[in-house]
Amino acid sequence: MSATESAQKIQAKFGDLVSAPSEFRGEISVRLADAEKIFDVCSFAKTQLGFDYLVDISSVDQYGEDPRWTVVYHLRGLGHGQELRVSTQVSEEKSELPSVFAVWRTANWHEREIYDMMGIRFTGHPDLRRILMWEGYPYFPLRKDFPLAGKPTDLPGVAFTQPAPLEGGPFVTVAGGKDSIDREPRVRNPET
């Protein structure tokens, strides 16, 4: 049974919520339309399809699009060696989806990191607090509207931050310009 067949079984069980499996560079991905069902999809994948290993949970900030957050789950079955990617989307007003901690305990720290960096909350998580930044840090650093240099904060006794000297911002090329003048590395100011 290949990963495509596993994806089709998920599609069979959950119907319209799950897209048809797409392939890119040998990897199979499915999209889940309703983020609330992620717990059911993941526990089905683990118990019925043998995906007992959660490799990674990532989050992507699709700045300017609605829904803004994409949360990507990488599943793997050690027994059959298949890999599957399940991605789901969450809108910015909601910024919440169920935690899969009860399916794989490794999701604990991954979800804490996503909360810390992007600000997406996970309902049902036993201990959702910041993991890489300190408690009380007011921003979510990996969002696209947060500058790389950072913003000044001060939490006396715990930590302070100052903006890093980037002289106007990182000079980065922008993809998709018509000609090389558009694509030239320029200052990319954050969108605030």
């Binding site: 990674d56 990488h74 990617r85 604990n108 790389l148 993809a175 590395p185």
Partner: protein, 423 residues
Amino acid sequence: MAHVQDIEIRDSAARTALAADELQDAQGEKMVLNMGPSHPATHGVLRIVLELDGEVITKADPDIGYLHRGDEKIAENMTYTQFIPYTDRLDYLAPLASNVAYALAVEKLLGIHDKLPPRCQYIRVMCCELARISAHLLGLGAFAMDTGAVTVFLLTFTEREKIYDLAEAASGARLTTSYTRIGGLARDVPPTWCDQVRKFLQEFEVSLAESETLLTRNRIWVDRLRDLGVISKEMAIDYALSGPNLRGSGVEYDLRKAQPYLCYKDLQFDVPVGSVGDCYDRYLVRMEEMRQSMRILYQCLEKIPGGGANAAKEPVCIPDGKITLPSKLKVLSSMEELIHQFMLVTEGVNCPPGEIYFGHENPKGELGFYIHSKGGGTPYRMKIRAPSFVNLSILGELLPGCMISDVPVVLGSLDFVMGESDR
């Protein structure tokens, strides 16, 4: 007349348990001990908040993030080639392996990771295995030093200096090599490099045997490590451990065998697997992995295309001007190469839109890169799946029940590195 009284000394675990029982009614308070970020035995800046009942740990809460440098946000603002030095500093004990992992991830996005020139593949495999030996040696040395066996630390560091010499000959730097490029390597190895590797392996065999006689059958070492920090198979899979931590618990899963990349298909090697899942098993798995790495290196030295000195001038980079920098002579004389050079340096390697995940068997575990690209030379989002980050999450379940003096042993056997864990 003198009164003789017999003193009965039971073993320490029984005594602790008895004391805990007796004290339960006497004082109901537990002590909170902060094993702070600056600590000799926490292998980097890790803070563990321990709740103690006497000497026994009842709760452990690891606090990480003291080395969080914002690598993922930096990656969104750099071209793919500009990010290579940051990958050195992820797992700074084995920078060559992290370089290879990142290069393979971007090459998978481009679709060329199985089309690399064979000499490049063999050199990358040799670099990975040298990095594996180097990382295991330091993990072992620091582990032994924390438990008191300081001689092993000095022995392993002497061997690591030889690996540093090899890395310096190949890439120019001892520690932060930045050796791979997208589509190949920065430069070919010098002509005498393979002979130096062979010489190193002969000396390393002797030194490894010496470290083994000092530790493996050492009564104190075995007593301290046996039956401590037992991770069962189910727990290891549930917590998504990888590398020697997973294999020490009996799960035979190695990415070099399960999803072969580079030229590992053509090489013969075994994957050591533990049985019990305690600290001693993980230590034995790491020692045997070093031996298997030596075996791989000998095979590579035999099979490398072009031989040691590359008299046949085999390429080490994909000869595609849109991916690899052209040679400088051509750049300064020919228009097409000049344009390629300009595009590659200012805009970076133009990758197609899409998302990939690539997992690589690093010494610490599975280092994975999830790259979400919207086209162009910079990634839209790069997530680094760090093995140490995932391995550390098990501490909250592993430490309760141990005593304080067991904490350095458990931490050393998990062999994590904070640069990777916090990114």
